[in-house]
Each structure stands twice: as C-alpha cells, then as structure tokens.
C-alpha cells in the first residue's frame, strides 16, 4: 500500500486487496462508497477542498455520500449549511473566488431550481465575463434520476438543461470506477463541473473492485461498454443498466455496441460518430423527457456526421414528455429494457 493510500484509507469497513497481476491496491465498493472515498482522498490531498450542503456534516448526507467526512476533517472543512440552495451555490462561487475548491451538494436534482441562477449566470460565466481574471473551480454534486420510489421532485433528470449552458461541464458516471476517476478529474478541473450521481445505482446489489489509489478519467470521454457492429446503443446514468438488460433480450445475431457517455458536456463526438459509422444504426436512451433532451443533440450530431452511413433513423427511448410521475407510475415512465429492446428490434428491421 502506497503512502498516499495509507493516508487516504478511509472507510475501514470496505474490503481491500492487492491485485496479484498488477500489484494495484484495490477496494471493493459501490458507487456512493466510491464517491465518499474519493472525497476523503481529495480533501486529504488538497486542503482547499471543502464540502458544503444541507445535512452533509454530522448526518453524512441523506445518501451517506459524505459519511464520516466531518468527523475526519472537522467542521471547518465540511459544512452543514442553512436550507438554501442559492445560498449554497452562490457562496460556493465566492469560496472559489477566494481560493477554495468548494464541493457544494444539492440534496436532490429537483432542488437545483433555486440554485439555477447562481450556477448558470455566475459560475458558468465568470471566466468569460472577466476574461480569465476570475475562475470558478468547483464541483457541484447532485444525486439525479428516478427509480427509488422517492417523493415528487426527487427523481428528475435535468442534464440537458445544463448541457445547453456554455461554461459548465456536466458529468454522470454510473459505475464505481468511473465515479472515482471522474470525481478526481472534476476536482482537478479549473472550471465548474456539475457532477450528477444516478441515485438509483448508488448501491447496486454488487460492489466492484476498483483501484484505491487516486486516478482520473478525462472529462469528455465516453466509454464503449461492449463492442458490436449491428447497432450502437448510447446511454448514461442508471439507464445504462436497462440497456445492458435489454441486450439479453435480443436475438444472438444482433451485436450491440453499447456506449456509456459518462460525460454529458462536452460531448465525446468522436466516439459516437466512429461507432455509428461502423454500425449504421443507433438507439439513444435516457430518463429525461424526450423533447429537447440530450437524445436530440446526439441524434443531430449523428445525422450531421454519419448521414451517408445511417441505415435507419436514430431512435430515442426516453422519458415521456410529461412530468415525472409520483412513484406508483415511475417505472412506466422510465425507459425499461423492453422498450429499449423493442426500439433496437425496430431499428434493425428498418
């Protein structure tokens, strides 16, 4: 175990091992544990990093993402704030101006509303507004998406809103490995990064073994989850798992190239264009309402750059253009494996 890691060992309850082949220290964790671990390591590494948000201190966050951080780093590094999202976002902007590296948490994506103005009209604009004299390095952590039987406004997927905002980066990992690497990269980034955490897969039944030492995954790189040549399926967040499930429902001869965007903005055009130039067919899957969602942007990029390669129109499997319903109906709203499989079948049959 390296020195850095020793310092960073945080959650002693997690199982650890050294990978025989590579000699890499590994830790077994789920997505939310990967986030907690990374936060601890980053706070350890850089004392400018502070966490702030509602209930992130003693209580460790409503999802336990900041569990134990205040105990370890003290109440001058991890702040329970007043119930005030604009306050959280706006003071985080100020903290960044004052030389800190704040990690504000918004408790649920539905509560980004009050913080919208400070995020898009200040955080995202300061670099260009001041021609580089003032910059806002901060990582806004937000649990996102549906499927956990939560109350209203606890299940939305607003990523397209923020992808339309120049000056912001938007990330949404769906595995512990990606979460750890992308969160570290986000904290290195000199610009504001919106870090969406798909709460439905915070605690996937299985844990993954991931490297314990610090590593980064570049923001803006999609991941080819499975290679294939019949059809490209693009998704991000919790929906990736519905897509993987859908693949099991398809006939053997359909070979899916599954892409997890991981970063929503900036878009990794190269990866998706290369894939669709190969497969000629594409299905995009996301939880947010279809209209003016990210599926539209990706489909448009594909028709712009793969026009002569496309054998069928790009298809979108998305949330309906309705408000995300209360939980009795939420599973009808969210794209499921059947809907994905059906769209793939259709696009193959075209």
């Amino acid at each position: 175990m390296s020195n850095a890691t020793e310092q960073a060992v945080f959650n002693p309850k997690l199982r650890r091992r050294v990978d025989e082949g590579s000699g890499v220290n590994q830790v077994e964790c789920n997505l939310v544990e990967a986030i907690t671990l990374t936060l601890a390591q980053e706070m350890d590494r850089d004392e400018r990093v502070v966490c702030l948000g509602e209930d992130v201190g003693l209580n460790g966050g409503v999802f336990r993402a900041t569990d134990g951080l205040q105990a370890r780093f003290g109440d001058q590094r991890v702040f329970d704030t007043p119930l005030s999202e604009s306050g959280i976002m706006g003071t985080a902007v100020g903290l960044a101006m004052g030389g800190m590296r704040p990690i504000p948490e918004i408790q649920f994506e539905g509560f980004m509303g009050p913080a919208y103005d400070q995020l898009v009209n200040h955080a995202a604009r300061y670099r260009t507004r001041s021609r580089g004299a003032i910059t806002i390095p901060m990582v806004v952590r937000v649990p996102v998406g549906g499927g956990i039987h939560a109350p209203e406004l606890h299940s939305d997927s607003p990523e397209a809103i923020y992808a339309h905002q120049p000056g912001l980066k938007v990330v949404m990992p769906c595995t512990p490995y990606d979460a750890k690497g992308l969160l570290a990269a986000a904290l290195e980034d000199p610009d504001p990064v919106l870090f969406f955490e798909p709460k439905r897969v915070y605690r996937l039944p299985t844990r993954d073994w991931i490297p314990e030492d610090r590593y980064t995954i570049p923001i803006g790189q999609a991941k080819v989850v499975t290679e294939g040549d019949s059809v490209t399926v693009i998704s991000w967040g919790a929906s990736v798992y519905q897509c993987l499930e859908a693949m099991d429902q398809l006939p053997e001869d359909i070979s899916v190239e599954m892409i997890d965007m991981r970063t929503i903005s900036p878009i990794d055009k190269d990866t998706i264009i290369a894939s669709v130039q190969k497969t000629g067919r594409c299905v995009i899957v996301h939880e947010a309402p279809k209209t003016a969602g990210m599926g539209a942007e990706l489909a448009t990029i594909l028709q712009e750059h793969c026009f002569l390669y496309l054998k069928a129109p790009v298809q979108r499997v998305a949330g309906f253009d309705t408000i995300m319903p209360y939980y009795k109906l939420e599973l009808e709203y969210l794209p499921n494996a059947k809907r994905v499989a059906e769209a793939i079948t259709q696009v193959m049959a075209y």
Binding site: E54, D55, G57, L58, N59, G60, V62, D80, P82, L83, S84, E85, S86, G87, G110, F111, G113, P114, H149, A150, P151, E152, L153, H154, V283, K290, T291, A312, P313, Q315, R316, V317, A318, G319, F320, D321, T322, I323, P325, Y326, Y327, K328, L329, E330, L331, E332, Y333, P335, N336, A337, K338, R339, E342, A343, Q346, V347, A349, Y350
Partner: protein, 373 residues
C-alpha cells in the same frame, strides 16, 4: 454614537397553558371554551393515531417516505381551527395533516400522496387548500398570491401558510414576506419552529435569537408562541387571521414546537440528536398537556381515553383501507393531465407508449400497468 434612534422593536412570547396543563386564566379568556378544548383534544388524539400508523405503513413497505407530524398537532389544530373552513385558504408544507383534515381534506388523501399517487393532491371542490408541498420554502409565495387574489376579488378570505424553521432560510420565504407586506395581502405566515431541519438544528440554520424577528425586516406584526399550547396558538392565530380579514395585512407567527419523531421515515435522528433533548420535549407533548388539563377539570378520564383510542383505531383502519383500496392510477393520467388538451406528440406517446419514431403496439414495451389509451 447615535444622533438619533431610527427604529425600535419588541417581540412578545405567549403561553397560556403550561406543560402541566395549568392555565393562565386571564390570558385564556376569550380563547377556547372547555367544550372546544375537549373536542380538539380528541381530534388531536385521532391524528396522532393515524400518524403512528402511517409510520408503520412505511416500515412494512406499504407506503413510501412519510414525515411524521408527532408533537406538532397543537400548532396545526390551533391555527387551523382559527381559520374559516371553506373560506380561508390553507397553504401547507407537510406537518399540518391535522389542519388539512379539519378543513375537509379526506384523511386518506395524505396517505395516498405518500403512497406515490398524485390523486392524494386532488383537492376536492369547495376545500380551500393547496397540496402538501415538497420543495421547501416555495409555497409561501403561493399563499401571498392567493390572498392577494382574495383581496383583489374583494373576498373576505385569508390564506394561512405553514412552513418549518428551515424553510425560512430560502430566498422565497423572504420574497413572500416582502410581497405580502408591500401589497398588504391578507396572509398569515405560520412557522412551525420544530428546532430541526432534518439534521440541522435551528441554531445552525440561523444566528438570530428567534425566528419571529425575521418579520421585523418587513415591518410585519410578529409574535412568538408556545406551539405546543393549543390555546395560545389559537389565540395568536385568530388575531392574525382576523386582522388580515379586516384589511390589516399580513402577520408572522413563530410557533415554538418540537419534532418528536425522525425527520421522515428515511431518516434516523439518533445520528445527530441528543436523546435527552427529545426526552425533555416529550414532557411538553401537546396531547399530554391537554389531557392533564381536561382530567384536572374533570372533563376526561382513563375510561374515556380507552374509548377514544378504540374509536381512533377503527377510524385509522378505515382510512388506511380507503387509501390502499385505490389501485394504481391509469397510465393515461400522466398524459391527460400535463395540459388541458393533450398536444399531438403527447397523444402519440400515449397511444404507442413509446418515444421512438418507429412505432408499434403498446403492449410490446413491457408495461407494468394495464394499458388503456
């Protein structure tokens, strides 16, 4: 230093019935009659019973997250009783079940809401209230707007809005107070200061000695009241409501109370709360206090309590049965209630149950609910 005083203020605190159920007779005059107290006491007991059952429903997986109202019944009932049913508007957060029921919301609606069913918000005709509000601190603006409408329409109706201590940190609180004060709308801002906003104690939520002083910013009449004292809550609420009705503008009430349960069923308050604090507040329980008073006055007995508990149990069973008897909403609802008229694209989505363009029949897409267009 001063060359003159620009402003002075003073805020009162009111308690009429102490923790042992002892009345200050002078202050109690012209508040509630003993008959009323007796009736409201029984109402509170029934609410408490349903609240405890709701908690168990969540624990046994029959309902989603639920925020218990336990300990705050006097604040809800005392103020709700001061408002005119069918005339005044209630604009709640989610710890005022008792007031909503009193004003005509069928009791099972609240359960339905927490069971993830929007029909729990389908306020019946003639009942004047807004649904439970999930985004904290946002509903007070609606109360200001509604009461402003009442003023413009010359209806002698008031809006009373409920919110927690935490909610007063939101910008919308400030804007609602300022609009109400500026336009002198008939609004009553009723803060249930239960000392906690999930895990954050009031002292970390704000640095002011009282919540009540927040109203000074708006030049608004403001008072602090023992929120577990039914009579005191009623008295200050009645005054505020009638002042508003008479054209005297908005008021602020800080009801000092306590959340005797966890924040919601998703929470475990033992992480952050000293059990001694909870214990101390259990001694101030508004229900126990009233029972002591009524018993001392000879108006209540253990036998009566047993009978009431039985009746409450029966009622709760019926309410739960009503809520659980309601099947999933029709899937069509999510399309039909987005706009008054379903736009063409939404109509297609509803008909095909898909968002991709190469369409077929809806059954293929793996619905859980029976599909009817």
């Amino acid at each position: 230093m001063p060359i003159r005083t620009a402003y002075t203020a003073k805020i009162d605190y009111l308690q009429i019935m102490d923790e042992n159920g002892v009345l200050d007779e002078k202050l109690a005059k012209d508040t509630l009659t003993d008959a009323e107290v007796l009736e409201l006491y029984q109402y509170m007991c029934r609410c408490r019973a349903l609240d405890e059952t709701a908690f168990k429903l969540q624990r046994s997986g029959r309902m989603g997250t639920y925020p218990q109202n336990k300990g705050q019944e006097a604040a809800a009932i005392g103020s709700g009783y001061a408002a005119k049913r069918g005339v005044d508007w209630l604009v709640p957060c989610y710890r005022e079940n008792a007031a909503l029921w009193m004003h005509g919301l069928p009791m099972h609606y609240v359960l339905l809401h927490w069971m993830g069913d929007e029909r729990g918000n389908q306020i019946p005709e003639g009942v004047r209230m807004t649904p439970l509000c999930i985004p904290i601190g946002t509903q007070m603006l609606h109360a200001t707007g509604i009461s402003w409408a009442m003023k413009l329409r010359k209806e002698p109706a008031v809006a009373i809005t409920y919110f927690g201590d935490g909610a007063t940190s939101e910008g919308d609180f400030h804007e609602a107070m300022n609009f109400a004060s500026t336009f002198q709308t008939p609004t009553v801002f009723f803060c249930q200061n239960n000392h906690w906003a999930i895990s954050v104690p009031r002292e970390s939520q704000m640095n002011s000695e009282t919540v009540a002083q927040k109203a000074l910013a708006y030049g608004m009449p403001t008072v602090q009241v023992d929120g577990n004292d039914l009579l005191a809550v009623y008295k200050v609420s009645k005054e505020a409501i009638e002042r508003a009705r008479a054209g005297g503008g908005p008021s602020f009430i800080e009801a000092v109370t306590y959340r005797l349960a966890d924040h919601t069923t998703a929470d475990d308050a033992r992480r952050y709360r000293d059990p001694k604090e909870v214990e101390a507040w259990q001694g101030k329980d508004p229900v126990i206090r009233l029972r002591k008073y009524l018993t001392a006055k000879g108006l209540w007995s253990d036998e009566k309590q047993t009978a009431l508990d039985e009746a409450a149990k029966t009622m709760v069973t019926e309410v739960v049965r009503a809520a659980e008897g309601i099947a999933k909403p029709p899937l069509a609802d999510i399309f039909d209630y987005t706009y008054a008229t379903v736009p063409a694209e939404l109509e297609t989505q509803k008909r095909t149950m898909r968002t991709h363009s190469l369409g077929q029949n809806p059954e293929q897409v793996g619905l859980q609910t029976e599909w009817t267009s």
